[in-house]
Subunit: 116 residues, 2 copies
DNA sequence: CACTTACGTTAGTATTTGCTTACGATACCG
DNA sequence: CGGTATCGTAAGCAAATACTAACGTAAGTG
């Protein structure tokens, strides 16, 4: 899962993933959609493959790539787990609000980032 | 959203996020949970904050940090969108298969950078 | 066979990243 | 005021990263 998160942190790799999410494409056509060189895309494809996010299939001299949704689902589980624990927090917040009616800043969090 | 994905790609930052997901914690106590030095954690906190993933509150000489689920939700939207487009694709694929075998890239995905 | 197509791989490089060791800033307390 | 917590910032460094140019490889094609 660590490798998958690392892989999708790169914008070009996310674009690749989107490109071959539902249709299979040869490496050349994938690379044609980017400004970087073909070897660069080839390297990105390797990272994605080793992260389990895409699959490769050879057909003659071509290599067809396709996204592997199961790989991303693995990453998605990370977020779901976070939201599960977030229920604890919501419960705490609810209890606090029940005890004393204080409307200080329980939702503000807008732009109260302070700066020196 | 780019910054958020980049931020959670780092294992220590994910650990920080989990640590302050449901409870507010001062920087020192956060750092106490790691082997790296306190300044390193301080830098991670800055990255997380600039990515909109955490919020900071000052109390005396302490700085209390807390996760900002809205930030992660933003990232989660990325995954949802992937699955949404996947449905579109599947529908298209089904229709295409029903009608005939036609290969025109009418959807153009998005910005297709070109290169020679 | 030579030649082409469609790729990956290697070597080298500039930039970014995560870290540590100083140092600076701010709130507090006597 | 000086001294102590608590914490961010600056500088510097080793490692990782994303890239390009050049080369290597395997599958056709004549």
């Amino acid at each position: 899962m660590d490798a998958a998160l690392q892989a999708i942190a790169e914008p070009n790799r996310r674009a690749i993933l989107r490109l071959i999410w539902s249709r299979e494409l040869p490496a050349g056509e994938i690379a044609a959609n980017f400004t970087v060189t073909r070897p660069a895309i080839s390297q990105h494809l390797r990272v994605l493959k080793e992260a389990g996010l895409i699959s490769e299939r050879r057909e003659g001299t071509k290599r067809l790539y396709r996204a592997r949704p199961e790989g991303l689902a693995e990453v998605r589980a990370f977020f779901e787990s976070m939201w599960d624990t977030s229920l604890d927090r919501l419960k705490e917040a609810a209890e606090a609000e029940f005890q004393n009616d204080q409307r200080s800043q329980h939702d503000a969090s807008n732009d109260n980032y302070s700066r020196d």
